[in-house]
Amino acid sequence: MADAVNPAAPKEGFVARALKGHAALGLLTGALLYLVCLSGALAVFQQDLQRWEEPGAAEMTSISPAAVQRAIEGTLERQGKATDHAYVHMPTRGLPRTVVTTDNGANYVDAQGNYDRPEAHAWTQFVLYLHYYLNLPAFWGIMVTGALGAMLVAAVVTGVLAHPRIFRDAFRMRLRAQPQLARADLHNRFGVWLLPFIAALGFTGAVIGLGQLVFYTAAQERHGGNLEEAFAPIFGEHPLHDPAPAPVARADRALEWMAQNHPDLFVSYVTIEETATAGQQISVLAEHPRRLIYGENYLFDGKGNFKKTLGLADGALGQQAAASVYKLHFGTYGGIPVELAYLVFGLALCAIISTGTTLWLMKRRARGLPSPRLEAVWAVTIWGSPILMTGAYWLRVVAGPQLPFAALFWSALVLATILAALRPALAPSPTLRRVLAAMLALTGIGHVIFAGPLPMGSLLIDAALCLGALALVGPEALHLRRRERAGQAHLAAQS
């Protein structure tokens, strides 16, 4: 980009220009992209994290249709307010709990459908909203994250153009070499082998984020500005509005129909639209095995009579493609192995983003143009943001779920960034990394001790936190030990 900025500079080749474009994209979007990718890597296990955050709620591997009906009716009665929508999250592998959500709140129920406790996964939700919206208002937030998705694809394209030797060096990984070379290898090797993943992630993220704009234009063009009508060809029509009061829709009958007619499908969600009115409609979301679509919606009337399917599984190609974007983005199409792979890939992408800007800073330093303030700000972004995310979890434990975690996180991050810019020596990168490692280890150990008897999934998360801490300080400890030994050997040789 420097060429475009300074056309008087000597002419550079295409590769050099692509490299500068790639660097410019990284510098422009790196910090926000890092936050989105870090929270996205965690979001893969969002259900497991919710279970980890809120131990003790009633759990079950399945729930009967009658209990679901009791859960919906009981929740509506308890809340005592009208609601347009009522949702039931059915027990899944990651979250083996039943959650009833309405416009007025959400609560867990037990296996009989009786009220258990309010849903209060405020920290998990904060992490999710950081990924979806960067904690901004929903419309603008999803636009920004969608734009970041498009820029990630652009970074992939310029990255490939800028590195003609990228395949020739495909397996060179000199992590123990000099810092700049080690980082360059990590950046380039991860980048090339995760290219399909990064491109798919960026593209699907951009489709999800920027899609609203296309629906807006279609609404203006063909539906008199009605956005719901523009969504309908893909995601289905809203049921006809008939506000006359009616008994709560018979989700139990709909679920019994599903069990009789599609015993092979896994029901993950039940939605009632226009709840407790004559126009209400039940939608049962069933996952289809070995498909990328997030599921097929089976639609029923208020009495639980089957009407039709939406067509996400076998309808227009456009419906199937749109429904396939989400699982591909969140890595939920192949059970735990793929989810673990997505966690690894997501963290690797964070490393790519981190090393990209670090390399730029190192090259500046090597040219005699060090930027200690920028280096400190970047260190705060890379290590400070996960420290603050972990700190937010501790706040959640100590002060409860009602705290404004997003506001606190962003305020602390801005403050830390300003401090780093003013006093770059205050918290250098290795110190921040050690602090993060300590916090991860303490979180894992503390959770095991204080959160009570835990299911295997939550214990594994605690173990992963401790392993993460080890991975952060392990190489440094090994390096120090090796240097100590070398020093001792040197002394022995001299004596």
Partner: protein
């Protein structure tokens, strides 16, 4: 049954492709050709026997195996013979950015972040309108627009960032916007 066999074969080839490439890297060259062939066959098999799902699982598997090979390479990489602090040149003062310099940088940002978005939206809008008017189902036409917008933005930005002159960047954005606007204005 045949489909399951083809899919399994596709997955095995997905995992084997990077291993063969690694064997051929700095080694026997035929292994490289075999590695690419394995990945090519894996792509065809997973796509035909498992659809988009099969392709996604196969790609995940290939990337995972490749990362494993990189981890092995990282563990085997030799440490430098003697730890030497990199020589750092004396710090010099960076030239202060001039006003025209800042203006140009801001201009490039506005072109890539805003003008390109508007141009790509026009392109996506035009593409879906063209698809709709050519008789496609509305869901299919919408997906054309949904996919065209981010793809167009990413490619446009990539191309512009390899340009020298800012006018080339502007013209590219304008060209894309006009290409998208034509179906809207004329049909």
């Amino acid at each position: 049954m045949a489909s399951a066999f083809l899919l399994s074969t596709g997955f095995v080839l997905s995992a084997g492709g990077p291993v063969l490439l690694r064997m051929g890297w700095n080694g026997p060259r035929p292994a490289v050709a075999l590695g690419w062939a394995a990945l090519g066959f894996a792509l065809v098999l997973t796509l035909t026997a498992g659809g988009a799902w099969g392709l996604a699982v196969g790609a995940t598997l290939a990337s995972l195996v490749a990362l494993g090979l990189l981890a092995v390479a990282a563990l085997r990489s030799p440490a430098p013979a003697r730890a030497r602090a990199p020589r750092e040149p004396a710090a010099r003062r960076a030239p202060r950015p001039s006003l025209p310099d800042i203006a140009r940088r801001t201009g490039i940002f506005l072109i890539v972040a805003l003008a390109d978005l508007v141009a790509s939206l026009a392109f996506g809008w035009g593409a879906q309108r063209l698809a709709w008017l050519s008789g496609m189902a509305e869901a299919d036409a919408l997906i054309v627009g949904l996919f065209a917008l981010p793809l167009c933005w990413a490619l446009l930005a990539s191309w512009q960032l390899t340009r020298i002159r800012i006018t080339d960047m502007l013209l590219a954005a304008l060209g894309v916007a006009i290409a998208g606007g034509l179906p809207w204005l004329t049909l």
